[in-house]
């Protein structure tokens, strides 16, 4: 199917600012779905609230645009009640890890099969540039006028520790890698977390003097490196990209619940 057939053209133009990274994520995601040859009816996209979360309206899947931070709760209900559906959950960094942090770790702990995409722009875009749990110490934001003293999460380590069985990271500069990772994340039978560094030139870029969208993407190129590279050994400050965890053996939640049903029915199912 052509990429544009996965899109709801009626709902365009989209609401993202020129140069926003979220559109690149949408593009990479649609390419992954197309390359997997998936039908539109087998995908449910569940999102929260934020600029990132508007992604669900633009795709011609079953789409559920929910509450700030609660996308994984809704998604859990969708997946568990109809496990044959493929559930993709794009979230902003604030959405996924501030207000939704608890749901995030618990979905990972259960290892329920869905793909959580954390679109990490290190800021609250939709509400106008307040600091997020991923902004990082020393950054600036509209609510950190004297610079931010909050420390950030490492999404990869957090997801790993919480029990996610697929954990990966990339950036909007590496759009092809994003597609490749998302393909593997979507077919993975367990909870997948894909963090994608995405630029918000309007707020994070401007507040932190990062230049325009292309400068911010250059920054992604220069400050990231493949997992285990020599560059990382020489410069530990580099952010690693790639797949950190891919555990196909950890029992998946819905499959485990089928066994509960079997036990409850005493073999009558």
């Amino acid at each position: 199917m052509a990429i544009r057939d996965y899109i709801r053209q009626r709902f365009f133009p989209h609401m993202w600012c020129p140069g926003c990274g979220h559109g690149i994520v949408l593009n990479s995601m649609l390419r992954a779905v197309e390359q997997l040859g998936m039908s539109k009816n087998e995908i449910v996209m569940v999102s929260g609230i934020g600029c990132s979360s508007r992604i669900s309206g633009y795709v011609d899947f079953h789409s559920l645009h929910t509450l700030h931070g609660r996308a994984l709760g809704f998604a859990t209900g969708v997946k568990m009640s109809k496990p044959e559906l493929n559930v993709i959950v794009p979230m902003g960094d604030g959405d996924a890890l501030a207000i939704g942090g608890n749901h995030f770790i618990h979905a990972a702990r259960r290892n329920i099969a869905m793909t959580a995409i954390v679109m990490n722009n290190r800021i609250y875009g939709m509400t106008g540039g307040q600091y997020s749990p991923l902004s990082g110490h020393g950054t600036s934001a509209t609510t950190a006028p004297y610079t931010n003293i909050d420390h950030d999460f490492d999404v990869v380590k957090l997801a790993k520790a919480a029990g996610a069985s697929f954990v990966a990271r990339s950036t909007t500069y590496h759009a092809r890698q994003v597609t490749d990772i998302l393909k593997q994340a979507i077919v993975h039978d367990g909870f997948s977390v894909v963090e994608i560094l995405s630029q918000c030139p309007t707020y994070f870029g401007r507040k932190n003097r990062m230049g325009g969208p292309s400068d911010m993407m250059e920054w992604f190129k220069e400050n990231t490196t493949p997992i285990g590279s020599k560059a990382k050994a020489e410069n530990p400050a580099l952010i690693e990209r790639g797949i950190f965890v891919q555990d196909e053996d950890k029992p998946e939640y819905c499959t485990e619940y089928d066994k509960v049903i079997e036990r409850a029915m005493g073999g009558r199912s």
Partner: protein, 382 residues
Amino acid sequence: MSENIKFVQGNEACVEAALYAGLDFFAGYPITPSTEIAEQMSVRLPQIGGKFIQMEDEISSVCAIIGASLTGHKVMTATSGPGFSLMQEGLGYAIMAEIPSVIVNVMRGGPSTGLPTCPSQGDVLQARWGVHGDHAIIALTASTHQDVFDITVHAFNMAETYRTPVILLFDEVVGHMREKLVIPEKGEIPVVDRMRTSVRAGVDYHPYLPREDGRLPMSDFGAEHRYNVTGLAHDMWGFPTNNPDVVHTQLRHLTDKIKNNVRTITRCREYFMEDARTVLISYGSSARSAFHVVKNRRARGERLGLLELQSLWPFPYGLIEEKCAKARHIVVVEMNMGQITRAVKRAVRNPDRVVLANRIDGVFITPTDIKNILRLIQGKGV
């Protein structure tokens, strides 16, 4: 007829009824005095191939049932006071996105963690107005286990008919008391299933375009029609909009579909009302004490009657006005500071005649408490 008679808690009666109504998905988080509902669901649902999940909190519980409802399942969650407060945002979402769902609140004393193991009817107004924004809501209640059964089935039927969340407000006495329950035969109480769209695949389906009767046929997630569901104001495709006309029409639809069907939704029982001069109005376990008083005094020739509300919202203003037209005194019996009393005062022609017989100390309201109020209004002193 093979009568299925059980001796159960009210919470279990609610579980039996939900299963009778076709429930097959439950998500919840334990809280006294509602916990037995979650526990029973974890046993019963997998036995019929249904699903139970214990979520990390009440916020995600209500979200999970909304997600499951969209795939075509009948869903429910159960909680008490503080958990119900946490559910308000999700409840609002279900109202806005028109998702059939049932939320049980076995009330406990508040505010805050209050009185976990004591009876209260303190969440009547939270049920009505806890959600931000103008909206309509259906909230039902019951005083006996047989009524818990009937009203729970009714809750599912209303949720599926009007595409809306329905709240079941029980109190601790009803939830934990044990008494007889006769489970009706299949078909004895009608069970309503969701209306699904007849629009064929490939034809434009409008998930949010009401038919003439206000109903909106649904399509399950995973079926041929794909559409957008959102808590934002939306058009007939479910796409977010700020267009004043569309927003206005949508909000009116949300309230009208309930306001225009008050007679179908609401339920009320009457005892000795034909010539009653003093009318008691009550609901839940308080109505059992009120009934005791009315029955005993009738035997002595006093003209007392009882209206037992089995639904609280939408409030049956017209019915209350009509039934109380000839009453000299109206005594509302409830375990709060007068949450339904306010509604009754708005309904009747002479609000000065309405008095409250209540307890707010976590102790069940007894017939004696009610008798004391009656003596006062009859000028006899306590």
